[in-house]
Point group: C2
Chain length 142, copies 2
């Protein structure tokens, strides 16, 4: 039973919900500096990847791979960054970030580097539509 | 055939080889600020997690989990950070870092925060022995 799970308020405030994959809620980080998806397994009380039971860890690996492929295909990025950190928001979540040699933080990791930047509404909508289509999830906001 | 694979020179310079897991070479980053293992799949020419064929991606997931558990058990850390970035060293590698609320970068990610710090030789040896034992790999340096 995971009826106790709810999305962390900070993630909710900073992201747009793309929809639900079998295990994870998929979010788009509202920062136009980098196409940046966050996957949040809908399991209460978990903070580490190793907290997931083995079969769900396999599901998450598949969801990370699918999201990585979708983000790469849509963004034509130079590199993907995949990370589970959780030092600030402890709720288990995985960052999948499309990086470009020309982006605001390259070659550094993105955290704490560039001020958050608003998406141009049409660019944001196109990205959400593209991700939703490739990940076969219904957009719940757009 | 992966006879073409060799460890990236920058990783080789900054790390101590712990030994080989079924897929990955396991390294200890020579930075006493954080107990920090790096897994490098012994596959030539790969830069992204999604470059690995599916069965090797599953093996890597298991190796990440095993290493995470070993590092957590030995270090008694507050949090694990797991990341595949590769913006500087493009050879596919995964960071598994034990974090403490008292460490030199907390709560930020570790990259670019604190100057590298040498291990006290006995502390380094104990960590290498502990990791080698838990990961069931023969120490090749120590």
């Amino acid at each position: 039973m995971n009826s106790d799970w709810s999305l962390d308020p900070q993630l909710a405030a900073e992201c747009t919900v793309l929809g639900d994959l079998p295990l994870s809620r998929a979010l788009l980080n509202n920062d136009a500096n980098y196409p940046w998806v966050i996957l949040v397994p809908r399991r209460a009380g978990m903070t580490e990847l190793i907290d997931l039971p083995e079969h769900e860890r396999a599901t998450l690996t598949k969801e990370i791979n699918d999201t990585s492929r979708a983000l790469k295909a849509i963004s034509k990025c130079d590199k993907l960054n995949v990370a589970a950190l959780g030092n600030v928001v402890s709720q288990l979540h995985v960052h999948i970030i499309a990086r470009f040699r020309t982006d605001a933080a390259w070659p550094n990791p993105v955290w704490g580097k560039a001020p958050r930047k608003d998406y141009e509404p049409n660019a944001r909508k196109r990205l959400i539509m593209g991700l939703s289509e490739r990940l076969q999830i219904e957009p719940v906001q757009g």
